[in-house]
Subunit: 200 residues, 2 copies
């Protein structure tokens, strides 16, 4: 890069920095966030678990509720469940086509949601992960009217992450941050089974 190019780079980046700095200066609020991670792509639950790691990094507490999966022993549970800052609740017995017992699935979901409500009322818990919560609504195990009020009434600095495909429009409307994860390509369709450390 010539001296001229260096100078132009510096001018450009100074302008860009001014724009970014102004945006950052405008964002001053602290708030417990409701995040929804939806879509069919890989990365919804793993992102929630990354936020659990971040939370623990500040010495804060996280509570994780898994509403569908739960039977199998997986890497994230082996890693986090033993941590003193983590509460881990398996509230599911598998997808409805696995259990083939709708009444049982509803009872399991309802029992899980009662435990989650207790976490959503506890200001000592910095982050509540409601993993695969969206399916409780999709399958009509629970009504939106049971789910949304305890989330909205939570302590003001508590963060909540909801994961799962096809998030209900009312959940998206209520959320502060929403990511829709598009499945551009997935190794599973090329014949690769779930890999330890990546998918489970």
């Amino acid at each position: 890069m010539s001296g001229d190019e260096e100078a132009r780079h510096k001018e450009r980046t100074q302008k860009h920095k001014a724009v970014v700095d102004a945006r950052i200066a405008a964002a001053t609020q602290d708030k417990g966030l409701l995040l929804v991670l939806t879509g069919n792509g890989k990365g919804k639950s793993s992102s929630a678990f990354g936020m659990v790691a971040r939370t623990l990094g500040y010495g804060r507490r996280a509570a994780i509720f898994q509403f569908i999966k739960g039977k199998e022993e997986v890497g994230e549970r082996a890693f986090f469940a033993a941590h003193p800052g983590v509460t881990w609740e398996r509230c599911g017995e598998g997808f409805t086509w696995e259990t083939q017992d709708r009444q049982g699935d509803i009872a399991t979901a309802r029992a899980g949601w009662e435990k989650a409500k207790a976490a959503l009322a506890d200001p000592a818990i910095h982050l509540v992960v409601l993993d695969e919560l969206t399916y409780l609504l999709t399958y009509r195990y629970l009504a939106l009217e049971e789910i949304l009020p305890p989330i909205l009434a939570r302590p003001p600095m508590q963060h909540v992450v909801v994961t799962g495909r096809a998030a209900d429009e009312a959940l998206i409307e209520a959320a502060d941050t929403v990511s829709a994860i598009r499945d551009v390509k997935h190794a599973f369709r090329a014949g690769v089974r779930a890999q330890q450390g990546i998918d489970l």
Copy 2:
């Protein structure tokens, strides 16, 4: 639910289970995956950190290279860097508009990439996270010809996760799994600054 409805539910779920089971049975291969998490939405790096947690849950090793961010102390680093199964390398001094020193940024990126290449040649490392690698290509700090061959020549069971916006088409082509994370809504735009445990 009536007896009839129960029976229909059971029939439907049995059919669905047969389809899902057949798909799972068809996916038999084990393979070190290249995952690309791109798009402008929240959840790319946090998803990579969730996969680090999963990997550690199986007692395996992970190496993390952060190509842009790195100056600030963040939750994920506080949490993971002390773990004996984790190698954590800060290979960046911030975005180019922060440093305003293109030659310095290129030298930093190149030094970081040399370290990453060593991890990509080490079969004892189960997962390599190349966090915000895409920007090295976007800003032309490094050429695709320097980046792609060491990734493709890695040990066959090693997984690699690349994160960052606007992933290069060649990287997407080479990947096994690609998620494009769409920014539907972000609290930052509503005036909320980066929150501990969620964004850092």
